[in-house]
Symmetry: C2
Subunit: 501 residues, 2 copies
């Protein structure tokens, strides 16, 4: 018996291949995972192979960037969430233990990690620290979907940086941004980094990381001039030059201290209060209408502010070039947090005062936090499928190669000869036709099929990505979609092929 040749998946798609299935339906149909309940996932062996490769890429790059892995308890006690004011979050899965103490299932770990580091270090000289984990997270979505994009239990890589001051904290932030670029580059799936709103997590600066996809839930805008990319929630937009101020308007009223603001925006556009708060952070909507001041959207008054959500053909608020929108799936988010959590959890360290003969002052530690939605990436990359099936990039495919033999072919000697040097393949030796095996391998998204048959020692190589190069041509002969390669050149041929994929 040949040892350690991964078995074929137990579940496979026996029916006539359908391009009508959604990515998630296809993931389930082919045996990557199951949904025991909406928003909950069981990862089957083949899905776990994909997850594990992704986890490994993330770990390697974070370790190379000086981050250290740890693993926090999934149960997080209520006391710390009360201190940061987040216990009221309606999407927390809450439970009581047998002594009636309150816990939640961690949806994110700012509270836990801040207290852990607070208890662990005593000197600012031990900073910077960036800890990360790869961990199940929980969010009690009221309307979970069967897919991986809005799940109630999901796999996430979360990281947290701790620094002695703002300058150092920005260095840690930029170090993580660099790690994220490395991670997403090595996946070889086109991605974008966008200016983003910090939302509930809080903090002063944040970026989202997205895969452009027509199935995405987010709308992003890219400026054709300065190239800046931002989530619609953060896109500063302006009308084209020489645009006439719009008269057909609607009004909102906000109270800002003693002032009552009248907000004037075009009638057919969506007012975004966040944009107002950039300029009037304390402003709150009011029923009072005796305005003491009027604030115009820039479309209504060239001296005004950008106050409405951007639309296709709006211009960039920074450089006035046209904005183009696209849909995208959020796969990561990096936050410069500042001292939001170290203040509410009272984490300070004594820091020397300059020229004071060793006197110190207690300063709040400065944080960043960073997240990659690991199971979301599987869903987003799954969307790359075509009418033959999935198209996993080499970096995270369940196996790199399917080795296919004709029905009744049982010569393990030949297989041993072929597989020497291959270390990430499966052998499909079922007694079904070659064509079906190749189709199934394509459907599963295995990048390469190697067919061993009557022409041995010549073997055939088929790929999910059409690739050609002089190096490949020197080792194999291309016939339609297949390459004919001698078994002695196979290892070298595949190595080149894999590098070019």
């Amino acid at each position: 018996m040949i040892r350690n040749i991964p078995k074929i998946p137990r579940l496979f798609f026996n029916e006539k291949q359908s391009t009508n299935l959604s990515t998630h339906e296809l993931l389930i149909k082919l045996g990557f995972l199951t949904n025991p309940k909406p928003g909950l996932n069981n990862w089957l062996p083949m899905g776990l192979l994909v997850l594990n490769k992704l986890k490994s890429i993330i770990r390697t790059n974070l370790n190379n960037h000086g981050c250290e892995e740890l693993s926090l308890s999934i149960l997080s006690s209520a006391d710390k969430w009360e201190k940061t004011g987040r216990w009221g979050n309606t999407e927390l899965f809450k439970l009581k233990d047998s002594s009636k103490s309150d816990y939640c299932l961690s949806p994110t770990s700012e509270e836990d990690i801040t207290l852990l580091v607070k208890n662990q270090i005593t000197s600012y000289k031990e900073l910077p620290i960036t800890y990360y984990q790869v961990r199940e997270k929980f969010r009690d979505e009221i309307r979970p979907r069967m897919g991986l994009l809005r799940a109630r239990e999901f796999l996430m890589n979360d990281a947290y940086s701790f620094d002695v001051n703002e300058v150092q904290a920005m260095k840690s932030y930029n170090n993580m941004v660099s790690a994220y670029h490395e991670i997403f580059k090595s996946l070889k799936v086109p991605y974008v980094k966008a200016d983003a709103d910090s939302g509930d997590i809080g903090g002063d600066l944040s970026h989202e990381w997205h895969y452009p996809s027509v199935h995405g839930e987010d709308t992003l805008f890219k400026c054709e001039g300065c190239g800046s990319i931002s989530n619609i929630e953060m896109t500063k937009s302006a009308p084209p030059k020489n645009h006439k101020p719009i008269d057909d308007t609607k009004e909102y009223f906000y109270k800002d201290g003693d002032e009552i603001l009248k907000i004037v925006v075009p009638k057919d556009r969506e007012f975004e209060p966040k944009f107002l708060k950039v300029h009037y952070p304390q402003a709150e909507e009011t029923d009072l209408t005796h305005a003491t001041k009027t604030v115009h959207d820039i479309r209504c008054d060239p001296e005004g502010l950008p106050l409405v959500l951007a639309q296709e053909n709006d211009h960039c608020g920074h450089c006035s070039s046209p904005l183009k929108s696209f849909r995208a799936i959020e796969i990561g988010h990096t936050f410069y947090l500042g001292t939001k959590y170290t203040e509410s959890l009272d984490f300070t360290l004594p820091v020397p005062i300059e020229n004071s003969n060793g006197k110190t002052i207690d300063k709040h530690v400065v944080m960043g936090c960073y997240g990659i939605g690991i199971s979301r990436i599987i869903a987003a990359v799954g969307d790359l499928k075509d009418d033959k099936g999935f198209k996993w990039p080499i970096s995270i495919c369940p196996w790199t190669v399917t080795l296919v033999t004709p029905p009744k072919f049982k010569s393990e000697d030949i297989i041993l000869d072929v597989v020497e040097g291959l270390n990430d393949f499966r052998w499909d030796n079922r007694d079904i036709g070659l064509g079906n095996k190749i189709k199934q391998s394509n459907l599963l998204g295995i990048p390469i099929v190697v067919i061993v048959g009557r022409n041995f020692p010549k073997v055939e190589v088929e790929t999910r990505w059409d690739i050609s190069s002089p190096e490949l041509e020197s080792l194999g002969e291309k016939k339609d979609y297949k390459w004919i390669v001698h078994k002695d050149s196979l290892k070298q041929f595949l190595n080149i092929l894999i590098k070019q994929m």
Copy 2:
């Protein structure tokens, strides 16, 4: 800068070394983990290194035995637990989601995996299957301890086998027993396999896997004659030969159908009802005392049954040789389950009837389940410590080697020369004395210290385990506790040393 040299742990034991600390206190003090609440653990980077090596040993051996890894949702819905009658378990962590549906945090996954396999396969030809996972488990212990032995969240490797009949199921059971032997052998920590009671999990046959330890909560007996080992709950014992029947007795009454049994056991021994139930499965304790039948413990009547818990110097119930007791920590449990779960969850497959022209009959699938307490192993192996500190076996030490240099030593060239070929070490280059660094490395349980200093290219090698052999002597010179080795022989020397550890 030298890349990828693991940093020294951020936390270390700066105080005068204390042998009074418990294993768990020392794990926390040295920075392997923290306890945010009793029974909950945060694994710090160094602890995670130990956990990860252990996980990797388990995965390799289970994969070699044909098992396939998957990963089930941590949230498990109440419906299936109600079907198997286990929803009433008082140690389940229970919670409701926003739509008021009931879930528990999985303490074990018989229900989930049975339903998953039931939905996944349609033919007995797809059997045998053995699935496993490496996963957090949850148990709402009423009296959790700070240690890893009675935790509320713990890391477990659980596996489940599915077979078409009892004979095949016993093969799968024995295959897992063989995998467990491989796993525990490769840890190189003395272990025992003991006959055990199946308890709440149920089933017909089970074995516990233990590390003998004076701190263990279990009492095991080993027979000096036949060598059988069993948990006290399962130990059949008898008095020595020529022992006089004991007259000083106490009595219990049990109802078994129409019979009222009077149970007679020695006054100073502990009656164990489980032993009675081996012979009278339906018997229940009763207030009725008009006995219709008397059942004697074998100590009171040579024709009687073994009905009391064994004691030191009892004899073996099988071979009559003396029994010796010892304390042990349970680290694994294997169960032959039979059809307990497939019956309550209605999982049958059509199986051909012999000589019936292809007629089939629906049969319940036969299961086994298997568990290794991963975080318990850390606690149990941690107990191997001596007055210098932990003594991790090579298989699961956080690092194999600490590379130690004197204060102010900054020559990275020399370090690069020494570390070539080492791939699992940390470099302690702090500006503190050599002696302290060596002490700390020993305390952490790092098996080998390599000291690079003034005598370079000669280096010193110290070990936590006193080892010597002609091969080592041909490459190095032993001086007291240290070996003096030339840097060019270091790699070969360490390879031999590691193999002999």
